[in-house]
Amino acid sequence: MHDGPPIVELRDVSKRFAQHHDFADRVAALMTRKALVDAAVLAVNDVSVSIARGEVLGLVGESGCGKSTLGRIVAGIIEPSEGEVLIDGTRQSAMSSEQATRAALDVQMIFQDPMSSLNPRKRVIDIIGEAPRVHGLVSRAELDDYVCMQMERVGLDPTYRQRLPHQFSGGQRQRIGIARALAVRPRFLVCDEAIAALDVSIQAQVLNLFIELRASLDLTYLFISHDLSVVEHVSDRVAIMYLGRIVEIGPTDAFYAAPNHPYAQMLLAEVPRLGGGARDYTPVPGEIPSPMDPPSGCHFHPRCPHVSARCRSEAPVLKPIAEGRMAACHLNDQR
């Protein structure tokens, strides 16, 4: 790991998706005499996290918990409603336009669906080469060689650069997506369920590619996944998200040895392990509540076995529980 400011830092970041009512809605509401409800989802709720250079942070949560939204905020695709994103300790607003462009290119994203994340009408050479050309990273004359180099680096045969995405398999398409991101020389990759849509055999290959690239290109990752065993394999630190909030964050080894938050404990108890023999499957009880109408206090309290009156009224904040570990649970105050 490196010293210096964290490569990416989120400060009190929230993202609210509100449903907007247009004129027709308002007229309809007026005529039916029903009050308009401003439905809003707080997909990311006051999250602060910093990611050091060279680190891999695994972000885990059930679907709908806001982890993809958080990833998109980090990648600059979505603007946060509140809070700020710092790249190398610098605010976006404090940057010159060249710096802002460089900062935007420094953080790239690998997407979940290898089919829809590639423009079906562009050839591989254009998919990979467009952004470096537009941003002047390579000249027109060098472009062909540059794209070939990018393709070789992710394990693709450069002779296929004139083909269209639909002519490749899922794993190959994901490699094209990785090459596209690496072509603008980023220092940080947000991998949003980057291997979840692939066959299990291909998952291992792409995962290993990520690990290789990290070593050879000195990359930092935010590795978003719902799969705890994958995250354990690649991450230095793990963050657990539940309904828009980070409930626990800490070093991978310590976390997997003894998860602190009840939600993390329940998730981890269900990770299949080799050699454990036959075991009853007990899912985390209850369902993930609607993010439109989250439970009061601690969002996890309706499903928590240790629930108390305080959990129903007061939301716990992330507090240090050990060296480099934080968790948001009232139980920690009693110990």
């Binding site: 907007h20 247009d22 004129f23 998109r72 990648a75 600059g76 695709i77 462009t101 935007a104 290119l105 953080v107 790239q108 994203m109 997407f111 979940q112 669906d113 829809s116 994340s117 590639l118 423009n119 079906p120 009408r121 562009k122 467009e130 952004a131 537009v134 941003h135 394990g155 693709l156 045969d157 296929y160 083909r163 269209l164 639909h166 002519q167 490749f168 398999s169 794993g171 190959q172 490699r175 997506g177 596209r180 991101a181 603008v184 055999s201 291909i202 291992a204 290959q205 290993n208 590619l209 290789e212």
Partner: protein
Amino acid sequence: MAAQGDHGSPVLADQEQPQWRQQWQQFAESRRAWLALWVIVILLLAALFAPVIAPQNPYDLTQIDLFDGRLPPGSVGESGFIYVLGSDVQGRDMLSAMLYGLRNSLFVGVLSAVFAVGIGVCLGLIAAYAGGWIDALIMRIVDFMLGFPTILVALVLLAVLGQGVGKVILALVIVQWAYFARAVRGIALVERRKEYVEAAMCLNLGSARILFHHILPNCMPPVIVIGTMQIASAISLEATLSFLGLGLPITEPSLGLLIANGFNYLMAGLYWISVFPGLLLLVAIFSLNVVGDRLRDVLNPRLQR
């Protein structure tokens, strides 16, 4: 690196050829569409080269002979000229008049559709991409335009504007752009949520580039389909307007005007003055619709086998 199995050649099978060739083969599988396409190509060529292939320039008064008027198809005129499809009241060769009429009809139909596509696609894309009140404003105008019967709007416009090729095209564009705007907005809304657009945003490619280089090409197949259909409806709308006397001026007659000219003599047994231009119009519109239908089948991914 782990296993190398993922490296080999891309999955090929029947995908060796580029997409457009596959689609072309699929298009040609329908003999009806194939035939209709040929008819359109022949009509286009005939319209383009009308001055060359027409036996007579029907609007050059030195070439027509009043004594040759009202001749039935196949007649030989005073000067030995053979009127294959007969002549009209003024002694014009109907075949030549139809070729010139087809030229005007197709010119107006294609040009108005092209302009309508241009305007509609731009506004539809902007509505989808910008969202908010811009979207609402554009789409309410579209609703407004689509709320009136096309023919009524065109009639009112032409009554206000007056006659002329440019004015007819303008009127047709005004009544047609809304279809494209609505269609393109719908598709663009779907496309802009796809991850390749997010990837382009992440690569900082800029709104204009994302809109026109990434989203637009993926919106084109349905636009081509609607465009084909709209050329057909523009031609028939123009014919209707001409028939009603509000379309092209008498100096540049379209098929609709020819039909209108012969209409008065239909009951007198001079059927050829109206019927032959009518048949040509029918063939042109029918062929365009058949091709449009087939294009819709081929380009719609949900109907892919």
